[in-house]
């Protein structure tokens, strides 16, 4: 209905291959960016920023990362939290070893460490497929989690076994550590998300993305196109783990401010990220955002929203109900639309485009 595409014709391949070929979408994206950069920091309360926006921004990159692996390349992984942990610990080690280097650089660089580990654990993917691979990636999850506890060097032999995010400044403005303003943290996380999402979308829209999807849809035919399975799959593992690593670094440095060895990056987080990918929609960038938003907002809404509408629950019971509701909602969503929120969004958009016709 609002997608009036008449008169939008393409005279170059570049404009035809644009990620948002419709003018309305381009305007929509600009509006969202403006809101995110200007309106949210100005208007949103610290509570909203802290409990929703920061974890959302930190986790959404992991969701994008896992979506690259699972949604685009068709490889299921349950080791996401482990790779996130690698990013977090790498960033911690790097910034304590070289405190003078800009922390933002280290956040980005920590992704490369994660990518390298990801490649190692991705090696079995050549021989194993599907659920077998999913179980195999648990090896990464448990091994890495174990390493975060048992290798004290990683947390600088801190007696508590936890890592504390140190104060770091960029141009004199504190960006990490307890004294950093929440708006600053938000803007930094937002920028990471915007830039890296743009990059991810660039990759998936080109030759590399097509190779991934080809491997996902029909690996035999993909080989016939000259696509080398091992290289393609390992690249997917590397890129995916990079995103998870950066996400992990942001999760600890921007959102949590510190982490107990091994507890934050447990198997449950891996599952939550996988939830987000599937609920959001496999193979969809926008779906990653929907999925991350869903898993971050839902517990908060349940925890604070239910009392607000008069259903009194105590904190402890709330936790349990949240877990229960997440489980039930997952099943419900899978039944309603196995292809996730992104598909619903796509259907809605298509409906608006052909409006008033039904198809």
């Amino acid at each position: 209905m609002f997608y009036r595409d008449a008169g939008q014709y393409k005279t170059t391949y570049q404009s035809d291959m644009a990620i948002f070929p419709l003018r309305q979408d381009r305007i929509g994206i600009l509006v969202i960016l403006a809101l995110a950069y200007v309106a949210v920091p100005l208007m949103a309360s610290d509570f909203i920023l802290k409990t929703i926006m920061l974890p959302f921004l930190a986790l959404v990159l992991a969701v994008v990362g896992l979506n690259i692996l699972t949604g685009y390349t068709g490889l299921i992984s349950l080791g996401t939290a482990g790779f996130m942990g690698v990013g977090a610990y790498a960033c911690y080690k790097l910034t304590t070893l070289f405190p003078e280097v800009n922390i933002l650089v280290w956040i980005l660089v920590s992704g490369f460490f994660s990518a390298a580990i990801g490649v190692v654990f991705g090696l079995p993917s050549l021989r194993i497929k599907g659920l077998y691979l999913a179980v195999a990636t648990l090896a990464a999850q448990f091994f890495l989690q174990w390493a975060f506890v048992r290798i004290p060097w990683l947390y600088n032999y801190n007696p508590s076994g936890a890592i504390e995010v140190p104060l770091r400044t960029v141009f004199g403005v504190p960006v990490t550590g307890p004294t950093a303003a929440i708006e600053v943290k938000y803007l930094i996380a937002l920028t990471f998300v915007v830039v890296l999402t743009w990059v991810a979308s660039n990759i998936v829209h080109g030759r590399i993305g097509r190779s991934w999807m080809a491997v996902r849809d029909m690996d035999i035919a993909a080989q016939l196109m000259g696509i080398k399975l091992l290289e393609t799959k390992l690249l997917a593992f590397a890129v995916s783990s990079f995103y998870c690593g950066v996400s992990g670094a942001l999760f600890v440095f921007i959102y949590l401010g510190g982490a107990e060895a091994g507890t934050e990056f447990g198997i449950r987080l891996s599952f939550i990220i996988l939830f987000a990918v599937i609920i959001g929609g496999l193979g969809s960038m926008i779906g990653s955002f929907f999925g991350a938003g869903f898993i971050v907002a839902l517990p908060t809404i349940l925890k604070f929203g239910l009392p607000a509408i008069g259903i009194a629950i105590t904190g402890a019971i709330a936790e349990k109900i949240v877990v229960m509701v997440i489980g039930a909602l997952t099943i419900f969503l899978l039944i309603v639309e196995p292809h996730g929120l992104a598909r619903l969004w796509q259907i809605a958009k298509q409906k608006l485009r052909v409006w008033p016709f039904p198809y």
């Binding site: 599907g130 659920l131 198997i267 996988l274 877990v323």
Partner: protein, 373 residues
């Protein structure tokens, strides 16, 4: 003849045989080299090579009682892993669903049992003891049945024919639901299993062995026996009953099962209920060895590497895989764990499973995957 014709000759050994032979040869060479190097003093006791490749074996030979004790513990753990894996296999075979919730069903079943028992004795005033325990057992079975029906109605039926990963995620959703629901009903604090009330033996026996003593828990023996009996019963059930045969038919082809005259929905209920019974028995034994709480969840995940080793569809595979993983990780933890700072039990099972996968991607007993073009 030119070199091109060389490759066209029929190979003497199949690829697998050749790989095995090569691996065996390399291993033999490596051991021989180690022996020589140790004897000649090239490797000393403080070298890491010695610590990894020689020292543990020396200890095994020196203290056989410890070895046997470790193997026994591994064996018992393995039996329990097998039982959890068995639940997975049953469901996977019959419905193609990778039931991630099987581990949680074990905990949930055990909690239901204890919860029922507490309810009966504390609220209903039934005298504590065997009778109450049996009534509680029946109640727990009832819950597992209700669960099976609910899962079939609410989860499986609407999701039939969806891709594997969607089904997997649905069972993960089920896991979360059961955790939240279980904690909401039974509370978060650990509970004690009603071991003696159920008539299970407690206590232990010390056996003299090769100059040392081995501690055998009676409960462990009972667990092994019960597991063996259960596997026997299941085997009988599958082999000789009409429903069992139908279940096997489903595993081969859904259409074949329909022609036998049993609806797919009934079969799913039966299979999930059977898996529920297995879960309850597993839960009793796990619970008896430690507390009953959702902390068991992480141990329940151990069934996954077992499945990789044994294959998703093979009951003998689940048993053998469970034993391999159980024994392997106990040995690894005991002899090699200290080198890495301990606690390697948490991931060793997965690494062992990965090793197996690299050589047999379909598991030990799984059917060979033939890709059709």
């Amino acid at each position: 003849m030119t070199d091109a014709t060389l490759a066209t000759r029929k190979p003497f050994l199949s690829e697998g045989q050749r790989n095995g032979l090569i691996a065996g040869g390399v291993l033999a060479l490596f051991i021989a080299a180690l022996v020589v190097a140790t004897q000649t003093g090239t490797i000393t006791r403080n070298d890491w090579i010695y610590k990894i490749f020689v020292d543990p074996f020396v200890s095994m030979v020196d203290m056989p009682d410890l070895l046997v004790q470790t193997v026994w513990e591994g064996f018992v753990a393995g039996v329990l892993y097998s039982l959890i894996a068995l639940g997975f296999v049953l469901i996977f075979k019959a419905s193609g669903v990778f039931n991630f919730a099987q581990g949680i069903m074990v905990v949930f079943a055990a909690l239901s049992l204890v919860g029922f028992y507490e309810f009966l004795t504390l609220t209903m005033g039934l005298p504590p003891g065997f009778v109450a325990a049996i009534v509680a057992m029946a109640g727990a079975l009832g819950i597992m049945f209700v669960l099976a029906v609910a899962v079939e109605r609410i989860v499986l039926r609407p999701l039939v024919n969806q891709p594997d990963i969607i089904m997997l995620m649905a069972t993960v959703g089920l896991t979360y639901f059961l955790i939240g629901f279980g904690e909401y009903i039974f509370g978060g604090s650990p509970k004690v299993m009603i071991t003696s009330q159920l008539g299970l033996p407690t206590g232990s026996t010390m056996l003299d062995f090769a100059g040392g003593r081995i501690n055998i828990q009676h409960l462990d023996v009972a667990a092994a026996v019960i597991a063996a009996v259960m596997i026997g019963v299941l085997g009988f059930f599958f082999q000789y009953t009409r429903i069992g045969r139908a279940l096997r038919a489903v595993a081969d082809s859904h259409k074949a099962a329909l022609s036998v005259g049993i609806s797919l929905n009934q079969i799913w209920v039966i299979v999930w209920f059977t898996a529920g019974i297995v879960a309850l028995l597993t839960g009793i034994m796990w619970g008896a060895r430690s507390d009953v709480s959702f902390a068991l969840e992480i141990i329940a995940l151990k069934a996954l590497p077992v499945l990789i080793v044994g294959g998703f569809t093979s009951i003998p595979g689940a048993i053998v895989g469970g034993l391999i993983i159980g024994v392997g990780e106990k040995l690894g933890e005991f002899y090699w764990g200290p080198l890495l700072g301990g606690g390697i039990e948490s991931w060793l099972a997965y690494i062992i499973a990965l090793m197996f996968l690299m050589f047999r991607p379909q598991g030990l007993f799984g059917e060979k995957i033939i890709e059709r073009i």
